[in-house]
């Protein structure tokens, strides 16, 4: 059920940075995403919560096409992609240029130092000179509180430090939108805090963010827009405070009770 691609000019005027329309994704019989739509405005922080297996990560991974939806439309900035059709390399590149991603498992490059992890993609993707890229890398390392670590290898850094390097690496490419896929789930609670602090700062600076998370406090305090997913669909969405205090569906209520009252 391919949807007609919306006119890019019309889409731009809505001020939406990211929009997904009617995303469907199935692995064989198993439907992971069942007609999911979502839109995120520029500068907005959107948190996606819900039980495991709800399709949160898959949805996030559809935004930069790490996961290819069966159908639906993905728009980021001025790039629009109809998932039902052949996607050109140029289009794909245009999409990914605007989207930064942070993974649950950090995925730093183990054979490169912290500095090179951040500088190399800039050199290869944006064509920056080595000096320019490393300057920018240092600047970002300082911003995430790791100005003393450039020469370290990732394996010598704590999980929280690795994740902050991963955030710096993504930011170095000047993305329009940052995607976070359970960025603190692999971390000890205390190490998770340092990552959340960096994310809070980013949000305050006006970065557009989409965050899949189990950190309810973060979802409640930092996000402007909350999406609750379950069984491959959006159960409800809206203002975080409203959903946390007065959920509209029974399923949301059960989920919130399970995560908050333990």
């Amino acid at each position: 059920m391919a949807q007609p691609v919306t006119d890019p000019a019309a889409a731009k005027s809505t001020g939406m940075d990211v929009s997904l329309e009617h995303i469907v994704k199935a692995y064989g019989e198993h439907v992971v995403l069942d007609d999911v739509s979502l839109s995120v405005r520029e500068g907005e922080v959107c948190a996606i919560i819900g039980p495991s297996g709800a399709g949160k990560s898959t949805l996030l991974r559809c935004i930069n096409l790490l996961e290819r939806p069966d159908s639906g439309t993905i728009r980021v900035g001025d790039t629009t992609i109809d998932a039902g059709q052949e996607v050109g390399g140029k289009q794909l590149h245009g999409l990914r240029r605007q989207v930064g991603m942070v993974f649950q498992s950090f995925n730093l490059f183990p054979h490169l130092t912290v500095l090179r992890n951040i500088a190399l993609p800039q050199e290869r993707v944006l064509g920056r000179s080595r000096a320019e890229a490393e300057d920018r890398a240092m600047e970002l390392l300082q911003r995430v509180g790791l100005g003393d670590k450039p020469a370290q290898y990732p394996s010598r850094c704590s999980g929280g430090q690795q994740q902050r390097v991963a955030i710096a690496r993504a930011l170095a490419l000047d993305p329009k939108v940052m995607l976070f896929d359970e960025p603190t789930s692999a971390l000890d609670p205390e190490l998770g805090l340092e990552v959340l602090a960096v994310m809070r700062e980013l949000a305050d600076e006006g970065m557009t963010m989409i965050v899949v998370t189990h950190e309810m406090q973060f979802a409640r305090d930092v996000s402007d827009h909350l999406i609750v997913m379950g069984h491959g669909t959006v159960l409800e969405e809206g203002q975080p405070e409203k959903i946390f205090t007065d959920p509209a569906t029974d399923r949301t209520r059960r989920f919130l009770r399970a995560v908050l009252e333990r």
């Binding site: 790490l66 991603m101 730093l108 054979h111 993609p121 290869r124 394996s155 993504a170």
Partner: protein, 212 residues
């Protein structure tokens, strides 16, 4: 009688055959390993067939094929280049399989990070995945190199002047058939043991970094 000097003079040739054969395989194994993981069934099949063919034929048969077969019929091939070509071909297959193991050892998240950052496929292979595969491949590749060094002894059958060649001629010149071959055996041990030791230490140092 002193056999050590003459037999030791074969060491450079043994090393030359090993190093060049291995180098050909180290380069030629890369496309074969990548083809092995192609999305296209036919490409995977071709690569697999080439690997099985190269590995399935014994080294000495490869040497005879190249030296006597091609060398006689089509073009004139000297023993040393013939041996290098034969060992190079075989090495391509073995190293392709070693790389394939290294490729599957690289975590899937490494590819995903590269994709998400917008790196081209070539950049990902050359800058991100390739170096990690090389590091994972060191122990198996070193074991193979040691095996190859010993296998180069069969190049003596076509007259390449390596360790066994000189040991054999010494044995034929004297009545002593045992000592020259024992000296040859010692020469191989002296070459392979430091090689294994060196590979282990390199592996240990690099592994600290990729074990994340």
């Amino acid at each position: 009688m002193d056999y050590v000097g003459p037999i030791a003079s074969g060491i450079p040739m043994s090393l030359l055959l090993t190093v060049l054969g291995f180098a050909i395989g180290a380069v030629g194994g890369i496309p074969l390993a990548l083809m092995r993981r192609s999305r296209l069934r036919s490409v995977r099949f071709i690569s697999r067939s080439i690997i099985e063919l190269l590995r399935g034929i014994p080294p000495i048969v490869w040497i005879f094929l190249v030296y006597f077969g091609i060398g006689n019929g089509l073009i004139k091939v000297e023993p040393v280049p013939a041996a290098i070509v034969a060992f190079g071909l075989i090495s391509c297959a073995y190293l392709a399989e070693i790389y394939r193991g290294g490729l599957s050892a690289v975590h899937r998240g490494q590819w995903e990070a590269g994709v998400a950052l917008g790196l081209s496929h070539g950049d990902q292979l050359a800058r991100i995945i390739g170096p990690q595969v090389m590091r994972y491949s060191i122990p198996a590749a070193a074991t193979y190199a040691i095996g190859l060094l010993k296998d180069t002894s069969i190049a003596f059958t076509i007259g390449a002047q390596e360790i066994l060649f000189f040991a054999d001629s010494q044995a034929k010149q004297s009545s002593d058939a045992l000592t020259p071959y024992l000296v040859a055996a010692a020469a191989y041990i002296i070459l392979t043991v430091p090689c294994a030791w060196f590979a282990r230490s390199v592996d240990r140092r690099l592994r600290v970094r990729i074990a994340s």
